[in-house]
Amino acid sequence: MPPASARAGQLLPRLLLVLTAVTGMVDAASYLALGHVFTANMTGNTVLLAFASAGAKTGHPYALRSALAAFALGASVAGRIAARADAYRHKWTGISLGIEAGLLWASMAVVSAAGADLTHHFASLYGTIALSGLADGESGTPRSSSCRCTT
């Protein structure tokens, strides 16, 4: 049986792989149900925004900008948490992922309250985009800082 430190060292990459699957799930839900907007991985949003600025018919530009702004805000909050969490990885990773979970549950509550078709409830649509973008911005910083080559 490997020692405790080795098992703990293997834990973080596995957690980040599971969280990568979570980003895939959130992206699938947001792109297919929230009007062609990615809220977990921002690379697609920047490309879609470039398409929209060139006149192509893609997702709503304001929704794309909202997702980008929410992601940036979440990432900056996570960076501040990382700077103040006593320089201990398990604390700030746990706190960031806990905040992400809370924001995703809040998104679930907003979606449940809105009903079947979200695209006609603009407040719920933008609220869900903002909450899920914040959530994945929160988790993006520990994901990109603590383990290399995971998304």
Partner: protein
């Protein structure tokens, strides 16, 4: 690896892609039931990961996770060599290193000087976290500016200049 490269963590990258595809497939399948189910399941998995990270990860410093403090026979504390690519910006001044043997806090000067910046990519060729955030922010800013410019330059549509008019009855 396919191009005969020497990427030491190609398995991790491939597993990351596979997990994202699997997650997207699962999310698409669950969308048949409800969007709320997808967000709820994602939140539950994140909460489980948060608990696992809180209780399972060791309390190593984020500034230098692989650094070890060793005390030699003369009582001089030495720091083992480690790469600086994973250092966060707050580590550029002084960093706090925990001595593993005695569980005391020591303040050791960071070998990287204050004016020196971290490299954009680490040894694996991946962008470091801070530079990835800067790149995404820069691209987002460019997109915002391009969108604003596009809206400003958009002229009101002249009659007859867009799609061909519908055929009128004789």
């Amino acid at each position: 690896m396919l191009a005969s490269g020497t990427h030491p963590r190609w398995t991790r990258g491939a597993a990351s892609v596979a997990m994202m595809v699997a997650g997207a497939s699962l999310g698409t399948y669950l969308l048949r039931h409800s969007v709320a189910v997808v967000f709820g399941l994602a939140g539950s998995i994140s909460a489980a990961c948060a608990l696992a990270a809180w209780f399972g990860l060791p309390g190593t410093s984020i500034c230098e996770p692989e650094r070890k403090v060793r005390t030699d026979n003369q009582g001089v504390t030495r720091l083992s060599n480690a790469s600086h690519s994973r250092q966060s910006p707050q580590c550029r001044g002084e960093q706090v290193v925990r001595a593993r043997s005695r569980l005391v806090w020591k303040v050791a000067p960071c070998p990287m000087s204050a004016g020196q910046s971290c490299p954009a990519t680490d040894q694996d060729g991946c962008m470091t976290g801070w530079n990835r955030m800067r790149a995404i922010g820069g691209i987002a800013l460019l997109g915002l500016l391009a969108g604003m410019q596009q809206q400003r330059c958009r002229q009101p549509q002249q009659p007859g200049s867009g799609s061909p008019p519908a055929a009128s009855a004789p």
